[in-house]
Symmetry: D2
Subunit: 255 residues, 4 copies
């Protein structure tokens, strides 16, 4: 079975995107990314030391991965746009994950600045993946603005709290004709699997892998869970019932 | 990493047990069992036609699997004991899953009769895996009675309702020195993964695979999900937080 | 204890707002509103027949209630503004609940148009209560725009699905210095109580009352539940614990 | 509307039972019981000083309440029976709540010893209310043994964790012809309301009231919440829907 989804003209097989923050070392990060089988890796442009080859985080991202620079640190559309342009000029490719955040306690995205940045960057030829608070009307505008996917949050960044916005993500999946990539909040493989069972196109995981006791094993666990959830979605789960139904015959065996 | 658990002296690598009921054909059942990578397969003795070689469901269970006959149809300890003895005499081995059920609407097990049957059969040398309503005091008695594992239900049989008894299963995992195998109710791979993340030793899945649109793909999905959940449990998940924590640096990039 | 909250300069004692849609008769609506003890009653301006005294729904709203006309039917800020002005000109007072909805399947609000309408109407002296998809940055903008409260949804209108957006409502309560009034989705008194326990200032209920078997008794149930939840919030609930703690002494009585 | 339920031949109007443990003073306990409007009050016989009139907790329980002595401290049926007999001989009446607990970490009840004690005490003319781990087959046996009600736990005693055993309580309500009184674990009024909405006959609350910042106000909150939940159950809640349904007309107002 060939099950892929397409972003920016590229057919992706792995539905697990990973982040590069919070790892205890570059070495562990590299191993975890490899173990995750991710094809798309996000990195804050802020962390890319454009002058130093040695310390550059990019050197520790496997070469076959697609780079998804993010605009972390941007508080307005304008700042996000500037960061995106710098990233492309620096040779990081034309994919960009827009993060516009001015709230420092919950790190919740600013949907309207995000729409503005998406409009500008999509016109400039970027493959734009906006991080968003799940909201149907915003997702529709991001679609019109030329987004390549939408990335609703499951819970605030770094909380490992899981799919707390399930109701709204379900609606985005139902209504929006773009890949829905659940980003932020996913803390355990079971939650990643559930997002995929619901019909998400992919999930992005960072904190849950980077802060695990064994990040490399956890990366592998997420890879398997995402595959499992996707497979289940395609397979068509059986119905849920209120009353029991025997798996084995109940007529008295000994009668 | 060699991660196994032991039942009846046998080290098991796969933590997914599967059932054989409700499949649309023997052929699909065989393919699904193979796809699941299960090492232990449960079958109702009632379904084993001891006289006919041709129709015998056993012929469709992969040869390398351990057979776990169950006492489905038994309404008392006495009946369960009789079925277990017939199964062993018929060459089905000495593993037995005790199901004692007299409730026809929710198919909930009779813990008391289950303890009685466990005592008798463990003394007779059976490897006894009792299906139970999760209850700490009952699990302690099953342990004393010589059970090889305990199999608490997640929800009524065949309902696909998930881990509705999570609170009690968590307590069994915390307090009982036997493998805890979650049996019944699991409807999706994400739920199987969650049971494993909680520290269950294994899960048994039947209805969710057999009634899926594509049972073979769903069996594969459950295999991956169980591996993912187990790996996550071992890896040590990161902490859950109420407030956000940045994965990427937030100091203004453009300052 | 005098526990009130203030909107538009009016101290409100009842924290249950009710709606007037979907009742089987005007008579039952009147009785249900009275049973609810609500002080604020919302009504779609569309349903107010400005020309006919007889059929006018306003005649069936108890005289001591504050009228909260809503802009149901508006698809843009401009339309909402026009409806608000008509309502005021027609003598419906200067409170207005802004509903801007262009999605016909889930009836989810358009936060962006809602902010625009709020800005305009607050400047014109209206007491503006905007219905919104819960989003921290939007709530901040509504606050800046002069909203008198914010009304985040618990679930899509009319679904009776409960507090599906709990995570985001909790954040609004934590961060926004305006009364948070949970509107839409609340299906049972227990859910209204939970919203109040979380610290919501009030809840608005319509479908759950109007479509109950006995709307009058259900209205009374919601009144009690809202009071209960509010009282619990003020009382300071005890801590939640993972392990048990005896309420009664456990030292062996008979020793 | 006269809505009562009957235990031991007595028609009870209040569906909130309260406990007497963990209060910071007898005075506050008395006030909280009065505020709760409870008609049935449970007390550990162990705490009743049968020799001292002054310190006797019974003196602080309002005179119009029915006393429900409990067998806290009993680890076996035999001990529970002895405590029950002492309670009756001491003039505490013939109601008895059976608690048989030998697990000191989670304080989970021993269902089988509980059944044994119920059989003996029911034959001796006691009105027996057994505390139990929710289990359909056990509830059936308690019914046969002559129990006047069954008291399934929502979560371990004193945890304030809520209705964690909802699935099994729902089944008891569906299948058992005795009042189902949810006991233990209820931490907030909203949870008490939910139990009542599900069809429980009553709830027993102790820790959540006694450990609240303001126990008297919390007692009142639980009284209201229990009434609200009961009323909602009787009223017949409207259906839950997946898609939205407008409360107000959506046809464009301005067309």
């Amino acid at each position: 079975m060939k099950d892929t989804f397409t972003i920016g003209g590229i057919a992706l097989k792995s539905r697990l995107f990973v982040g590069t923050g919070k790892f205890s070392s570059h070495q562990i990060m590299t191993e975890a990314i490899e173990a995750s089988n991710a094809q798309v890796v996000t990195v804050a442009l802020r962390r890319i030391d454009l002058d130093s080859a040695e310390e550059n985080v990019l050197n520790f991202i496997p070469k076959n991965c697609i780079l998804l620079p993010n605009t972390s640190g941007a508080r307005t559309a304008e700042e996000a746009v500037r960061i995106a342009r710098i990233a492309r000029a620096a040779g990081c490719g034309n994919w960009i994950k827009i993060e516009v955040i001015s709230d420092h306690k919950y790190l919740l995205p600013d949907n309207y600045e995000t729409i503005k940045a998406t409009e500008i960057l999509a016109k400039e030829g970027f493959v734009v993946l906006p991080y968003m608070n799940p909201d149907l009307m915003v997702a529709k505008r991001l679609q019109e603005a030329g987004a390549a996917a939408v990335m609703p949050l499951g819970a605030p960044i770094g909380t490992n709290r899981g799919l707390k916005t399930k109701e709204m993500i379900r609606i985005l999946i139902d209504e929006i004709n773009l890949p829905i990539i659940v980003d932020a909040g996913i803390g355990k493989p079971s939650e990643a699997a559930e997002a995929m069972e619901m019909g998400a196109a992919a999930v992005l995981v960072n904190t849950a892998i980077a802060t695990a006791g064994d990040p490399v094993a956890m990366a592998r666990a997420f890879d398997l869970a995402v595959q499992a959830g996707r497979m289940a979605h395609i397979s068509g789960p059986g119905a849920t019932r209120l009353y029991a139904e025997a798996s084995s015959p109940l007529t008295g065996f000994l009668e």
